[in-house]
Every structure is written in structure tokens, then in C-alpha cells.
Symmetry: C2
């Protein structure tokens, strides 16, 4: 059997840290003077005590390293347990959520999904709004570290292709996971501060700028307003676009940039493909919007740039209700959410590098059909890709669509119509946020769903965020043997 | 460059044969005495003359064998050109279709899709109805031969796994493609006659039994009535279920059965997985129908058995409008259409063996994550699968979903709503027939679509029927080089 103590120790510590961060919304509530601060004091004490007790009770089993199954249990465990504590203030506070709703909201926060079950955000206690932002911000940094340190090691969904890289770049100087995490955190904090500053400069209040910078850099997409980013049309949208894009580029390139080498960032094929594709999509949507809705150019550019970037990066802010733009835009936005950003960032979904590998493989396949006896090798950035890695990527892709099908059918079983079920499953699995249709579309809210649907979506967010295999491997009997 | 003459010769011959079969609906129209027979006489003469001229003009380039690119051109060419001639009676006759509509109907026939643009089938000249059945019947046998002889040779979408088999089983006695085709044809004709006889025995008219046996065994799904198979509720549904299932089992097993060896049929893992899965799905739907609609058991069993079999085999008859059953059924039917039957039959869609290979690959992947240094090999029927074959299957799967996305977006661009666009693309690519929604659902009709949408669907039917790669390989520049 497993020795769960080292896992419990790390999770306990993280819970305690989560509890400590609750002091921030408490201070904000104190300053607002509505008496709401005690909610965060209570939650913080409960969370820190629980975390401390768990860590203490497991500390006698501390070891130097974790093996593969233990790493998997840790990764999944963190994302299952932390939302439970993150949900506390949402239950006790002004949002008055039931346990399931609060867990949904906290899961949606920590997985950076951004689907919300809270209505009436505009008048909500500031502590609650800040807490939602903090959940996403912490989730975001957690994901970058997971994507750079754990997933390549676990060979999940082809992430092993970045295995050598993270350690090559930083390995000699920073050989350990915690140190990689530290360097990434510095960059993450810097990006967040830069984003916040820009939001303040274009006229956002300091509080809004803070929370929205948290949810921009984490590509989380929670907003302080029911109408989401629709509250900040104009220059703020361009700022958001810039930082959403920066948030989904590979963070390892920023480490290199900080060390004085900007070329790898510019030469990274993921970055080029991502930016190029976004540019093409924006051009198409601008053209279509100007033709079909006779929007003036600036509005068409801004709305398509903002909403496309928001969906493709998996942020999920909405500034316009694109459900009303027409069928082409609806279908396009549905499929664009399945693209995602670059690996090793806060992005979720299928991700650019997987498409690059898949298309490289498809090209080879077509060559082989044409010339059965030729020798062709799929390549990534010029280097041949090991068949095993390619296989991982394909298995990920297959599993993604099979899971999407199963989640959709499960959701439809709770009575949701086809579009809501399908787009709900997709938006949860890609951690994007908004779905399609009146109920959960960009101008909708997840509060109206029934409990079974919320439960299924919680699972889908978790599975998507952990790149599927990390969760599914635990469903095999072999995992629990020896 | 290619020498197109051997390809033209074969296509010319097939056109002439198609023209000759037009004599049958001519005779039926003569017997009906409505004067409609001249339509088929004209069409037959034009078609046979055109085919004969093409074959003659190419006969000087006749060679013994075709190379790979020529085989690909031939396969695609047949399915592009034959519907043009198949469309003739539909344009000239009582159905009075425009060229695009007639081409759509003929393509839907020959690819065994079964989506129709004709309304008022109930009073239509019998020749037209028979001709639609003949188009599907010919398409069906064409597909079995293509799937057994050409696709394994072309290594398309993992079909190479059946390469050795077809030739091992029949190779020693029947080494040549035409002889395989002959033996398969005997079985195909026998199944059709058996189906027709059963339909007559349970009370269908001889004419209806003939046409519906044609469209059952080809899993085509054209019917003589606007309400499709809803006209024949009761025992006829069970007969249809039996023959739809027989039509999607691997035909090579029937060859073995005829030669006195029935065990391979019973032991084929594709057959077992297919029948097992169908049984589970039927049980689930019966349970759900009885609970939610309080159907009596026999009705629930019959309706779920018939409609599920119809969709999973890609036949596409409808006996009940399952759009009204509720969201669970709608979502389920959408995804079930993506399963398909067994390879080497008249079925289309993704097919059972691909899922078997994919899940085998997923299992290995999960084992590798758990135990990185273990040695695991994906297997099919106990035998290790070459990585290249596995790769082909995965590329097929990826390409299928990417194509589905592109076709959906293209359809939505013509103004179709999301569900119609997505389900339209899916039903065309899987050659099933009905989509979802009011317009193209089981009680709908494709006549109401605009021309661009019809054009896109024609392409999607073709691409799906030719297992994608056969078409896409022609889009690469390398294909056309030397
Ligand atoms: K998001
Ligand atoms: K069909």
C-alpha cells in the first residue's frame, strides 16, 4: 500500500497557506466596514488549524522524494481537498452558498475555470470578490508549477516533450522543484503587478484592477461584475488581451528572458503558431462582424480581439454576448475553446503543442499512404518526436473527446438540452468558463443548474485541469496494486 | 504525371453498369403504367453511352495493376463521378430535382448516407423510389469491396490490420480483387433476398420489401415514405434490426461461414464488442424510456432496439421521433452515431475496431504512467499491434474530429444554428442520415437547407465514406508529384 503521510504533509501545508491568504480579504472587509470581516477570520482559523493538524499528523512520515503513484495522488489530492477549504468563506459569507455551490465556485476558482454560481456580484462584500480572485490566482501559479514540474515527469498527455527543457534551462542552477516554483512565482507576481498597474492607468479602481489582474494572469476569468468584462469596454479590453496572451506563453521562456536571452521566446514554435492563429481568427471575425453587423472597425476589432483571446486562452471573460452575433460565431467560439494556449503556462484545454504534434503526425501519415516504403518521421521544432510521446498525445486527444462525450451524455441525463450539456462539458473540461445557450452562455450563470449537473461539472473541471490521465490512471486497478 | 487511362477505363465501365441497372426502375414504371418509364430509358441511354465512351477512349491505356496514387484516384473518382449519373433520373423524373439537389440525393444514396431532399415520397413514381434503393444497394456492395480490398492496401486509418486477413482467408483460393468481390457479392445478394423475404412474410408489399431490403442491407436508410420506417411499426422493426446488425458484421466471417467454419464469426472480438455494447445501450434506453415516458415494455424494447440499431449501424431509419424523447436520448443518439459497426462491412463512422485499438492504447498509456519502466504492448485479438497501425488509427480519430469541427463551422457560416450544423456535419461524415433538431432531425428533411450547406454536406458525405485520408491525401502537393 501507499504511505499517504508525505502526501498528507504537503497537502496540509498547502491548506495552511490557503488559510493564511484568507487574511487579505479579511483586511479588505475590515476596511470596507460592513462587518463581514469575521467570516474570513473564522474561515482562516478553521483552515489554518485543519491544515496544520494534517501536516503535523503526517510529519513523522516525511521522506525526500515521492514515487510516481504518490505524485499522482498528491496532484489530484491537492485539487480535490483545497477547494473544500476555499469554499468555507463562500458558505459562511454574504454569498451564502450551500456546500455544493461553494465547492463548485471554489473548484471553478482553483482550476481557473471561472464559471460562477453567484449572482449579484456588483453589490457583494469585497472580501468575497477578492477571495474569488485569490483562488484563481493561486490556482494559476499551481498549474504553471504542475505543468512544468510534475506533468512532464508523469509523462501525461505528451508533456514529457518538455521534460528535458525545464530541467535543461533551469536544472543546472535550480535543480529542485521548489526552486523552479520560486523562480516562476517571481515572474508570475511581476506579470500580475504589471497587469494591475496597466488596469489602474486606464482608469480601473485599485480594487477592480487587483482582482481582475489576478483573474487575467491566471486565465481564470472571474469578474467583480455580473456583466463580466462588459463593464470595462474600451482600452481595458486591449490591456486584458495583452496580459491574457502573456499568461498563456510558455513560462520557461520568461525565465530565459529574465536571464538576458529573449530569442527563445520569439523563436518558440508554440508561440508563433499561437500568435499567428489568433491573428488569422481575429481577421476572420473582424471581417464577419463588419459585414454582418456593420460594426465600425474599432469596435469590431476590439470585440473580436477581446472575446477570441478570452476564449482561446481559456480565460472566459465576456465583453459582449456573442450568442447574439449569430450561428457562425457561436460554432467558431465553441471550437476555438478546444484549442488553448501554450504548454507550461496557466492555460488549459488541448493546447497548441498537441495540435502541432498531431498535425506533424498526420502529415507523415499522408506521406506514408502516398509512398508506403518511404521513411518519414514526425518532428517538433525540427527534432524527431519519439513514438511514445506521440502516442501519449494521441491518447490524450482520444480520451479528451471520449470524456467530452460521456460528460455531455451525463449532463443531458440531468435534463439539460443538447447545446447546454455539450458546451457545459466542454467549457468545464477546458476550464474556460462560459458555455453556450441562454442558461450558461456568456451572459448566463451556472446557478440555475441542478445539483447533479453541478456535481458532474465539478468532476469535469478537475479532470480537465489535471490533463485527464492524472485522474483516470487512479481508476485502474493496477494503480492501487503494490 | 499520372496515366489516367486505366482509372478512366474502370470508372467508365462502372458508369455503364450503373446505366444498365436503370432498366429495372424503367420496368417497374412500365408496369405501374404512369408513363414515367421514359425517364429511365433516357437516363439509361445517356449513362450507358457516356460510360461506354469513357471506357473505350481509355481502353488503349489498360494495364495489369494500379499503383497507390492511382488506386486513390480511382476510389475517390468513382464516388465523385457515379453520383452525377445517378442523379440523372432524379432530375428528369417526377422528383424534378435541380442538379445540386439531385447530386446530393445520389451522393446520399451511393455513400449509403440516406439523408433525403425529396418530400412527398408516398405518392412518388415507383421507379424513383426503386432507383434510390438501387443507388444505396450498389453503394453498399461498393463499400464492402473497397473496405476489404482497397483500404487495407492503402493503409487508411488502421485498415491495414485487416490486410493479411482478407488475403489469408480467401487469398489462396481467390487471389484477385474481382474474385473477392464476386464471393462477397453472392453473400450480399443472399442477405438482401433473405431480408426481402422476411419483410414480405411479416406483411410488407413486395415492392416495399424490395426497396427496404436494399436500403437495410446497405445500411443506407432511404425509405419509400416520408415518415420513414414509422410506417412499419411492429414485427417489421425486429426484422430490420436483425438485418441491420447482419449488415455491419465483418463480411469476411460470412465467407468463412459459407465454407463451413462458423467459429470465427462468433469469436471475432469486433462482433462481440458490437453486440455487447448494443445490448447494454438498449437496456439503458429501455429502462430510461419506461421510467420517463411509461412506455409498456414491448414498445420500449422495440423502439429503443430499432432506433439504436438504426443509428449505431449508420442505417438512419427512424420509427419514432426521438427528438421528442428528451435531452438524454438526443445526446445519446448523437454520440452513438459516432460508434459505427465492424470493419469490412457496409458500415461507416469510426467503427468498433478503432475504439478497440484506441482503448488498448489508452490502457497501455495508463500502465506506463503508473510504471514508467515497464514494457507494455497494445494488442488486438491477442496479437501485438504494430505502432504504425496504431498511429494510423489515432490519426484517423484526430482527423475525424478536426474535420467535424471544420465542417460544423462551415455549415454554421451558411446560417445554420449550432445543433443543426454540428449534427449535420456528424450525420454526413458518419453516413448515418438524420441529424438533430427540427430541420434535419429524424422527422425532418434536408430539402430546406440552402445550397452552400448542401454542397458542404456532399463533401462531408464523400470524405466520411472514403475514410477521410483517401480524400485528404489528394490535397497534399506531394501526392501530385511524379
Ligand atoms: K477560465
Ligand atoms: K445511412
Amino acid at each position: 500500500m501507499f504511505d499517504l503521510r508525505p502526501i498528507g504533509y504537503v497537502i496540509g501545508l498547502l491548506i495552511a497557506i490557503l488559510g493564511a491568504t484568507m487574511i487579505l480579504p479579511m483586511l479588505v472587509d475590515l476596511a470596507e466596514g460592513r462587518g463581514h470581516w469575521s467570516v474570513f477570520l473564522e474561515s482562516s482559523v478553521i483552515t489554518m488549524l485543519s491544515g496544520g493538524l494534517i501536516a503535523l499528523s503526517c510529519s513523522n512520515g516525511l521522506r525526500a522524494g515521492l514515487n510516481i503513484p504518490e505524485t499522482i495522488l498528491l496532484t489530484s489530492g491537492v485539487w480535490v481537498v483545497l477547494p473544500l477549504f476555499g469554499a468555507l468563506p463562500l458558505m459562511l459569507g454574504e454569498s451564502e452558498l450551500r456546500l455544493l455551490d461553494a465547492y463548485f465556485e471554489a473548484m471553478s476558482g482553483l482550476t481557473t475555470t471561472g464559471s460562477t454560481v453567484i449572482t449579484g456580484l456588483d453589490g457583494m462584500a469585497r472580501g468575497i470578490l477578492l477571495w474569488r480572485g485569490i483562488l484563481q490566482w493561486l490556482g494559476g501559479i499551481g498549474i504553471v508549477v504542475m505543468a512544468m514540474v510534475f506533468l512532464p515527469e508523469l509523462r501525461v498527455g505528451g508533456m514529457q516533450i518538455f521534460r528535458a527543457e525545464a530541467f535543461d534551462t533551469m536544472g543546472k542552477i535550480l535543480p529542485r522543484a521548489t526552486e523552479i516554483a520560486a523562480q516562476i512565482s517571481v515572474i508570475y507576481i511581476f506579470l500580475t503587478l504589471a497587469c494591475m498597474l496597466c488596469y489602474v492607468l486606464i482608469g480601473m479602481s485599485f480594487f477592480d484592477a487587483t482582482v481582475h489582474s489576478f483573474t487575467t494572469i491566471s486565465t481564470g476569468g472571474f469578474s467583480n461584475y455580473d456583466m463580466s468584462f462588459g463593464r470595462f469596454t474600451g482600452p481595458a479590453e486591449y490591456v486584458a488581451v495583452l496580459f491574457m496572451i502573456l499568461a498563456v506563453l510558455p513560462f520557461v521562456r520568461y525565465v530565459q528572458l529574465v536571464n538576458g536571452n529573449g530569442r527563445p521566446l520569439l523563436r518558440d514554435s508554440q508561440v508563433r503558431v499561437f500568435v499567428g492563429m489568433l491573428a488569422v481568427l481575429v481577421a476572420v471575425v473582424v471581417f464577419a462582424l463588419m459585414r454582418s453587423h456593420s460594426h465600425p472597425f474599432e469596435q469590431a476589432l476590439r470585440e473580436s480581439l477581446f472575446n477570441l483571446t478570452s476564449i482561446i486562452t481559456g480565460t472566459g471573460y465576456a465583453s459582449a454576448d456573442y450568442m447574439r452575433w449569430g450561428p457562425f460565431f457561436i460554432a467558431l467560439f465553441f471550437f476555438v475553446a478546444l484549442i488553448g494556449g501554450c504548454a507550461g503556462s496557466t492555460t488549459c484545454s488541448i493546447k497548441i503543442f498537441r495540435y502541432q504534434l498531431l498535425f506533424s503526425s498526420i502529415r507523415v501519415q499522408l506521406q506514408r499512404i502516398r509512398t508506403p516504403h518511404g521513411l518519414f518521421t514526425p518532428r517538433y521544432e525540427g527534432k524527431p518526436v519519439p513514438p511514445e510521446t506521440l502516442n501519449s498525445v494521441m491518447v490524450f486527444f482520444v480520451f479528451f473527446f471520449v470524456s467530452l462525450g460521456l460528460f455531455s451524455v451525463a449532463l443531458s441525463l440531468t435534463g439539460l438540452d443538447f447545446v447546454t450539456a455539450l458546451s457545459g462539458a466542454a467549457t468545464a473540461m477546458t476550464n474556460t468558463g462560459p458555455g453556450l445557450g441562454q442558461l450558461i452562455g456568456p451572459s448566463g450563470n451556472f446557478a440555475g443548474l441542478n445539483d447533479s449537473a453541478k456535481g458532474i461539472l465539478i468532476l469535469a473541471m478537475l479532470v480537465g485541469r489535471l490533463e485527464l490521465m492524472t485522474v483516470y490512471v487512479m481508476l485502474t486497478p493496477a494503480f492501487w496494486r503494490a
